[in-house]
Symmetry: C2
Amino acid sequence: MAIALSELVGYVAASLTTAALIPQALLIWRTRRAEGVSIGMYIVFSTGVALWIAYGLSARAWPVVVANVVTLGFSLWILAMKLRFERATRHGAKPMQ
Amino acid sequence: MAIALSELVGYVAASLTTAALIPQALLIWRTRRAEGVSIGMYIVFSTGVALWIAYGLSARAWPVVVANVVTLGFSLWILAMKLRFERATRHGAKPMQ
């Protein structure tokens, strides 16, 4: 089953835009810091990704569903860490340098 | 021309995941700070978005092209600011509180 080149480009694009959140999540996890990270971004981004999942389900586009479920997981993880470490920093906890 | 509900969901999803980068770009622009922002994320993300543009061109999916050209613009802006303000901070410039 030869996969069309453009379809392959689509799969690689989906993998990269999903995987891109990993370095950001690990940076926050490692340094316990997220001051420069925008809460607004991850609220809007998570909402958009949730809608991509709804779109994928309705269009039976399973790669769109799978890629965006993984992306939503990372996006919500980043949001949760941002809220948690921001509260900790406000209550005097020292972020790791 | 009635637009299918699922197509509408797709357009809203694309707009949100594109617009999501705006609060992050403005936060960095306003505070001149980007310590918590991951360079790795925006390099991988920009590469993925560029591939989405190539996919959209090859599949003649113009909404995919338009949304991702805008996204690429914001992603590269964030990357450029990250590199610029990081260098400035290393050379003793005071970030805005």
